[in-house]
């Protein structure tokens, strides 16, 4: 371990890594450019680097981009990456209330805590976590998705019915495209780009960013004196106290959800957000600029990084799309992740561990130093800011798949987001439904195929059953909390 650290600190490796982190933050902050894309864009540049520095750059980009996504989510309600959707729920109201600096500061600090925590888990408990993750079969994944859906209850703002309706709409939107089991096209209207279903990022950019721009333009110019405030970056002592518990919970949730292949930061941040609301003394602040909600979402989102590396390094199975790309570049450098990596290439493994730790720690100074700078965005006069956001919306939705169709999707969902905002329908449950829809359907049907059509399978498997019970408990707890605060 010390050897790897020495190697990292000598020569140019640390600088390369810093460059990777900065590049990652920029890429993550640009809507439509996700961590996956950032890493994929940089893989060719690392062909010519020796294995270790190449890996360090990629890890830097990965970690940087996971944090970078929070910046536009906070400042202009545009989640830079899908995982930052939950961040915008409380980050954006904070920025609007003149606390943009603090919102960025908190997301940076909690993000780094999450990243470091998950790296420690990766270092010391990988084999155990991976073995547990393998126990998740279709029935368990279905139960987990249902548990995720139970979060809808706490994402519903004033009317629970409206929230649930939006969740159902999200699930319905997710059924567009080839069905996951028999590959029959549904609701595609003969359009080839719809075969794979609606792409998540254009929808997100539409409902959040474009919808918000359209809504805000119809408002009279707000009292700029408040909005122009950036405020301090570092949290106060009481704020630290408030975010401690939600951050700890989010670390655990994020790391574990990240370790499950196929479930990523988008799900983790919503689940952690819900948990934070449940343990909070002031649940009514959620959605209106709660530091706890912001901390939980952003911490979970970054804890996914270490978690997702667990199945990749131990089993050679990527935990999400980004780690799939990193896996590809590892292989290209002659590193073969999988069961024997821990025995035969321990040197490289410890380099990866140290690299992840250092990359996470590098985010802290870069993120905090840049916070004031990024936050200047909120000072821009809105007749310049809004058109620029629209341009970024268009470019971002195009860049994700190089598809003009996605630009159209983004525009349509921009109108939808505007209308929903107008008539008081919450947007977040719609997004959560869309994120979880495929997971719900494909695992439900896969589990039923495996059981030969018997629904008892969800009750007979202890893990699946406990997750379903948890889902019911979680939803009831939220309902009880809503009643009490009313």
């Amino acid at each position: 371990m010390t050897e790897a650290l020495q190697e990292l600190l000598t020569g140019n490796t640390l600088w390369l890594m810093l460059a990777g982190v900065v590049a990652g933050i920029v890429i993550g902050a640009l809507p439509g450019l996700t961590a996956t894309m950032g890493v994929a864009l940089l893989v060719p540049f690392t062909f010519w680097l020796p294995t270790l520095p190449a890996l360090m750059v990629l890890l830097g980009v990965y970690v940087g981009a996971m944090y970078g996504g929070a910046i536009p989510a906070v400042l202009i309600r545009t989640p830079g990456t899908p995982a930052a959707a939950a961040t915008s729920l409380d980050g954006y109201p904070m920025a609007q209330a003149g606390r943009a600096g603090l919102a960025i500061g908190i997301s940076c600090i909690t993000g780094v805590i999450g990243g470091v925590f998950s790296t420690l888990v990766l270092m010391y408990a990988s084999p155990q976590v991976a073995r547990f993750a393998l126990k998740f079969g279709p029935a368990e994944y279905f139960a987990l998705a249902v548990f995720g859906l139970s979060v809808i209850a706490s994402l519903s703002e004033r009317s629970l019915l409206k929230g649930v309706l939006m969740g159902v709409c999200g699930l319905l939107l997710a059924t567009i495209g080839m069905d996951p089991i028999t590959a029959v096209p549904r609701f595609t209207f003969g359009l080839t780009p719809l075969l794979e279903g609606l792409a998540l990022v254009p929808v997100l950019i539409g409902v959040f960013a474009l919808g918000e721009v359209l809504y805000q333009t119809s408002l009279p110019e707000p009292d700029r004196s408040l909005f122009r405030e950036i405020g301090r970056v570092l949290p106060s002592r009481t704020e630290y106290k408030r975010i401690t518990l939600p951050t700890l919970l989010a670390c655990l949730t994020g790391t574990f959800i990240g370790a499950l292949p196929g479930v990523g930061g988008d799900v983790a941040s919503f689940v952690a957000y819900d948990q934070a609301k449940k343990v909070s003394k002031r649940p009514e602040e959620f959605g209106n600029g709660s530091v706890e909600g912001l901390a939980a979402a952003e911490c979970a989102n970054n804890s996914v990084t270490g978690g997702a590396m667990i199945p990749m390094l131990t089993l050679g199975i990527p935990g999400d799309a980004v780690t799939a790309v990193i896996l590809g570049s590892l292989l290209m450098h002659g590193v073969r992740p999988g069961p024997d990596l821990f025995e035969k290439q321990a040197h490289l493994l410890s380099a990866i561990f140290v690299g992840l730790l250092v990359a996470n720690l590098l985010v802290l100074p870069v993120g905090l130093a840049g916070a004031k700078l990024f936050a200047q965005t909120v000072r821009a006069p809105r007749h310049f800011l809004f058109p620029t956001i629209v341009v970024l919306c268009v470019v971002g939705s195009y860049a994700i798949n190089n598809s003009l169709f996605d630009v159209g999707v983004m525009f349509v969902f921009g109108l939808v987001g505007w209308a929903l905002r107008r008539w008081g329908f919450p947007v977040a449950p719609l997004v959560l439904g869309l994120i979880l829809g495929r997971m719900v359907e494909e695992n439900l049907r896969r589990a039923l195929i495996l059981s030969g059509g018997s629904w008892m399978v969800f009750l007979q498997r202890p893990l699946a059953l406990s997750l379903l019970v948890l889902a019911v408990l979680s939803a009831s707890l939220t309902l009880w909390q809503r009643r009490r605060t009313r």
Partner: protein, 435 residues
């Protein structure tokens, strides 16, 4: 004020030069500008790695940039469709994959091998029948005998209905007179994961996907479904020596849209052949366990046609053994639609009963919003017609001026900075081509 005006003028001139520079194209010899390889699968997989490594070599052969553009979606239908309809000028090459010979038979995409001029095959990865190391099957015959005795009990994981690995499992059961219970997953990796976790019993995927686990003693490869043993796994028997005349696997190759001039085809073929022969490329592929298998022109075409015919038969026989226990593809949408309607009714009734005003937000300046929406629509519509630079410039100029808060020069300066800046950032720094 004079300074602002000067600055604006300066920026105008600068940006004008930049734009002109981007648009200028010499057209004397082929290739004289960058070549794009359309790679239908998403970044990170074998196909993506192969095309990027090949592009790196081809760039030096052609002396122009060779860029890879991923077009993921619709079981690769999106990318194949895009590649087949690209301009037939030789500057767009498509990396065609096994799905090209599958999709038409599934009725999912009108694109077939006939829509391409096939240049050359690059790789061929046979299906490897793999089980857990602690399973009771030690040979392929054990497995098939068991599957014959207990039809539809052995759970075979595949990478999606109609995927090449699903077809491989179907081909195996047909050859062995057996029946598996087929369980589709969202790709080969999740299927292998389910195999490791004991949720399925067998997978037929490419050897690269299971290699590490086989070496670690977790999984056992029973056979590769080809005519000869795989040189990378000499100890694993092939299907033919076990008495099953099977040859099925995933392949990839380069193709052009119909109508590219013959001399350009020839030039591309030569260049890619040389890039394919490069030592770095071969070594990189060997490290990833990709079996390179070059096959040119007419031979490649015959291979694809044979694959297509084989797949058609397999898909026809597949229809009868679609999975029992599945609730069907309309179950969930129907359930959700009913639920949605009920909820909408409940909301309407409860708002009526409560007689409280619907919690709509006030929107005094709806007119401004509508204008913004219309301008955005114009932007989206113009984007494919006139390109990003012109469309975004028009949009920015119109939307900034319409607020009547800035003068013309400020608006022009702002427009140029944002349009050109975004263009430069995406196109040149990030390497994401914009229309």
């Amino acid at each position: 004020m004079v300074n602002v005006r000067r600055l604006c003028l300066l920026i105008t001139v600068f940006a004008g030069v930049l734009i002109a520079g981007c648009q200028w194209r010499g057209e004397e010899r082929f290739p004289s500008r960058s070549i794009t390889i359309i790679c239908p699968p998403a970044p990170g997989g074998v196909s993506d790695t192969l095309t990027r490594a090949l592009a790196a070599g081809a760039q030096q052969e052609f002396g122009v940039p060779v860029v890879v553009e991923n077009k993921p979606g619709g079981a690769n239908a999106v990318g194949l469709n895009y590649g087949a309809h690209a301009a037939p000028d030789g500057y767009t090459v498509t990396y065609v994959v096994a799905e090209l010979a599958i999709l038409p038979h599934l009725g999912l995409s009108p694109i077939s091998p006939d829509d391409f001029d096939l240049l050359a095959r690059t790789n061929y990865n046979p299906a490897a029948v793999t089980v857990r190391a602690d399973s009771r099957w030690r040979t392929l015959n054990d497995l098939l005998a068991d599957a014959r005795a207990h039809p539809e009990t052995i759970r075979a994981g595949n990478s999606g209905t109609g995927s090449i690995w699903h077809l491989a499992a179907v081909a195996l059961q047909e050859a062995g007179g057996a029946k598996f219970k087929h369980v589709p997953f969202g790709g080969a990796a999740p299927a292998v994961q389910a195999l490791l976790g004991g949720h399925v019993d067998v997978v037929c995927v490419s050897p690269t996907e299971v290699q590490a686990h086989v070496e670690a003693g977790k999984l056992r490869m029973l056979a590769v479904l080809t005519n000869q043993r795989d040189p990378l796994f000499p100890d694993v028997p092939c299907a033919r020596e076990l008495g099953y005349p099977l040859d099925i696997g995933a392949w990839g190759g380069l193709a052009l849209p119909k109508g590219v001039p013959a001399e350009r085809c020839q030039r591309l073929l030569e260049g890619f052949r040389k890039a394919f022969g490069r030592q770095e490329f071969r070594q990189m592929m060997a490290e990833r366990g990709v079996r390179l298998a070059w096959l040119e022109g007419e031979e490649f075409r015959r291979f694809v046609q044979a694959q297509s015919a084989l797949n058609r038969e397999l898909i026809a026989s597949m229809g009868v053994n679609l999975s029992r226990g599945d609730v069907g593809y309309l179950y969930l949408p129907r359930l959700l639609a009913v639920l949605g309607v009920l909820l909408a009714l409940a909301i309407a009734v409860s708002e009526k009963l409560a007689r409280r005003p619907a919690d709509t937000l006030p929107m005094p300046g709806v007119r401004d919003s509508v204008r913004m929406a219309l301008l955005s629509l114009l932007f989206v519509v113009l984007l494919p017609l006139v390109g990003f630079l012109a469309a975004s410039a028009l949009f920015l100029l119109a939307s900034v001026l319409s607020t009547k808060r800035v003068n013309l020069w400020q608006a022009i300066g702002f427009t140029l900075v944002v349009s050109a800046g975004v263009w430069w950032l995406f196109q040149n720094v990030l390497g994401v081509p914009l229309p």
